[in-house]
Symmetry: C2
Subunit: 437 residues, 2 copies
């Protein structure tokens, strides 16, 4: 039997607490599998006295993660503090500088400093494991870093934020508004008091930035991501999507194009019959298109203490067994610089919802503006007015375009607005048919 793997865990919140309880509860099973014991020898958290459902007796206590990361008796440092700067960043650097491996669930840290940290890890002959940082319990990091090793990835996309997917699912199933579903998500603990990070698409963007690097062997570039959240999605959109054979999901997409790599996060209409469209509630899903495998799809729990702790535990077990994949799949020296695609935004069909003032010639004028911008329309439908009849001078109109560019759509809508036919702003949702390009 080999020597034990001694862990230091910083952060004993939902995930850290679950991890500590699991290491205790599954001690024998883990030892059998790894052929060595897994031991938590040191911890750090904000409040030493809090009741956590497990005993920290026998574990060295550190008030500060950086001090924990420097603890002489640990073989690996588990960072579950969170945040892209401060204690998380400094403690991870401290551990890597010592040459011990780091396990983290911290997507913000990696999205902002992943390349720098990967370089530090490589320099010190160590590595960072981060299965829990993207899509919770779904083994997407392992799949991209290891299983796809021989593949050239063309596109990676998916549902990466459980809060948004929960809200969109409830809106669709129960006809509730965004605001109502958000409040419910907050009540159930699926959304934070300040929901911006989730519903604004930023959480999904952090995760996408990491996947993009693994997919294309390039450096991480969070700032290049086009981000649009779900707060403007209306029930009318969801209903119209259903009639057209689509469901609306917050999709994160990264794909290789002729001019570079495109990364975007936005509400997207996807075919109801696609497997991705069936992914409901807080579940996440990631699809990967590559040269050898074609398309594969992974779906599962995107969050939750046990699911995320399970992902951390899989990293722990990899370390225990001696697996040493480079942080970002390849040696950092082999990462290519990120090259942003010329077109930053979606090419494809568009769903456009307009509130058109009831005037002679409005329809014709809108259609002409589309034609002027080479946008071909698949359908143009005047939808039923709201039953309350309060806005009888306004007709909701839905346009579906054939494949076009975002620039053309934006330009045409800008002109339509200026023509004075609309009440309020035009609203558009990108359509993705999900077939391989």
């Amino acid at each position: 039997m080999a020597t034990p793997l001694r862990l230091g865990i910083a952060g004993l919140g939902t995930v850290g607490g679950a991890l500590a309880r699991l290491v205790e509860a599954k001690r024998d099973a883990l030892e059998k599998r790894a052929q060595r014991r897994i031991e938590i020898v040191a911890v750090s958290a904000r409040d030493r006295m809090r009741e956590r459902g497990f005993s920290t007796e026998g574990m060295a206590w550190h008030d500060d993660p950086v001090s924990l990361a420097s603890h002489a008796e640990i073989d690996a440092y588990v960072e579950l503090v969170g945040g892209s700067e401060g204690a998380a960043l400094e403690s991870v650097k401290a551990a890597l500088n010592r040459g011990i491996p780091v396990i983290t669930a911290n997507k913000a840290l990696l999205a902002h400093h992943g390349v720098q940290l990967a370089k530090l890890a490589a320099k010190k002959n160590s590595t960072i494991l981060f299965e829990a940082a993207v899509a919770g319990g779904i083994p997407v990091i392992k799949t991209m870093r290891e299983a796809l090793a021989g593949n050239e990835v063309a596109r990676v996309y998916g549902i990466l934020n459980g809060t948004c997917n929960y809200i969109l699912t409830r809106m669709e199933k129960e006809g509730l508004t965004f605001a109502e579903c958000l409040a419910e998500a907050q009540r159930l603990g699926y959304a934070e008091a300040d929901p911006t990070f989730d519903v604004g698409g930023f959480d999904a963007a952090h995760k996408l930035a990491i996947l993009t690097s693994l997919a294309f062997g390039c450096e991480i570039d969070l700032d290049s991501i086009f981000i649009e959240g779900i707060s403007n999605v209306a029930i009318e959109d969801i209903e119209a999507a259903a009639e057209l054979g689509y469901r609306i999901k917050l999709l994160a997409v990264a794909q290789r194009t002729d001019t570079g790599i495109e990364q975007r996060v936005h509400p997207t209409m996807i075919p109801t019959k696609s497997a991705l469209a069936q992914v409901d509630g807080v579940t996440n899903a990631v699809a990967i298109d590559s040269d050898l495998l074609g398309s594969i799809l992974l779906a599962g729990p995107g969050a939750g203490g046990n699911a995320t702790a399970s992902a951390v535990l899989s990293d722990v077990m990899d370390l225990a067994i001696g697996s040493v994949t480079p942080t970002l799949g390849v040696a950092p020296a082999n990462l290519t610089p990120y090259k942003r695609a010329r077109m930053r935004a979606h090419e494809g069909g568009y769903y456009i919802r307009l509130s058109v003032l009831d005037r002679v010639g409005a329809f014709a004028s809108i259609a002409r503006r589309m034609a002027e911008n080479q946008i071909s329309l698949e359908s143009i439908v005047q939808r039923r007015r709201d039953s309350d009849g309060a806005e009888s001078d306004v007709a909701p109109v839905v346009l579906i375009t054939h494949e076009t560019t975002e620039a053309a759509v934006r330009k045409a809508l800008d002109l339509v607005s200026k023509d004075g036919h609309l009440k309020g702003e035009p609203h558009m949702i990108r359509i993705e048919d999900l077939s391989r390009d």
Copy 2:
């Protein structure tokens, strides 16, 4: 840069040929990733002279896989010969006896001899990698062996045979008979000239036997699997399923029960809205229910030269990087004996199709036989007769039962048959709601 990883490949058919071409075409990318070269230094195949789209120049040629496995200059032996006995078995043993790792895509070999070979590997401090043996390019072995390391699996199930799924999908989409779709599958190369191994459910059973061991840490037991193929699935069944909100898939299921482990392969009605039901054509999918993760689903190409070679390549890269997971996830000494569940067959709802002779009291008699066996009926529907009207004395009747046992259904149908109300044999398909028990 480390020394090269030198491979000996036995079998240069579809998968072996694709692998050799990929190792050549992706030489630089693989070297960058592994930080060492991957070299094919020796090969074995039936016909030395055949044109394969790559050069075997510089590779040592062996007429016999056993001789190849003994080649002094190889670091790993890749077995792509196929078959559970003979050259495949002997060559794998020869390689393991030397202490070099084995990579194989051979599900039959593992289903029959996996435990014995895992023991040999462990004794010699080596391992067997077999990502390609189950579900082609889907990283299900990696997921179960590594990503689920901390989880206790309750159930693993999925669509493991692309030929059957292709046939069922075409029957549904185009209203063709089983025989017509099988012929088409054979024409397209999706089915063998002798299709029994695929359509009889045996191929799926081999794969399930392996997954069962990984899921439950038990020995492999192919013989305990209840197997029923798809040749009796009729278009009427598929149509009736659609009306009821189900699709028919050949499902392979292994689950832990109070009395042991249950393994079965059979046509199954699953809810149309489930993600698994959206898995069409030659695509495979595996779902895993476990204590920490809840449910995860993996879907992707189940066969094909490149997809399977990609899985082999992922094993090659794991070896190159130094990953050394035990063959069956845990040390063979820690595998538990397989304990068969007392109930070997499905508990749940049943779809039953009967051809009932048009006699007074037949319906009542059938309903009574069901009640006598504590089978509660959700619906009983007399379906429209065949348009040709040739059998106007026979009414097709479909029964849907609430949850019951296979024993009860079999007993009731036996009695109904003996009562003389039926023309031909009763036909039943198990219904699986896929929610966790």
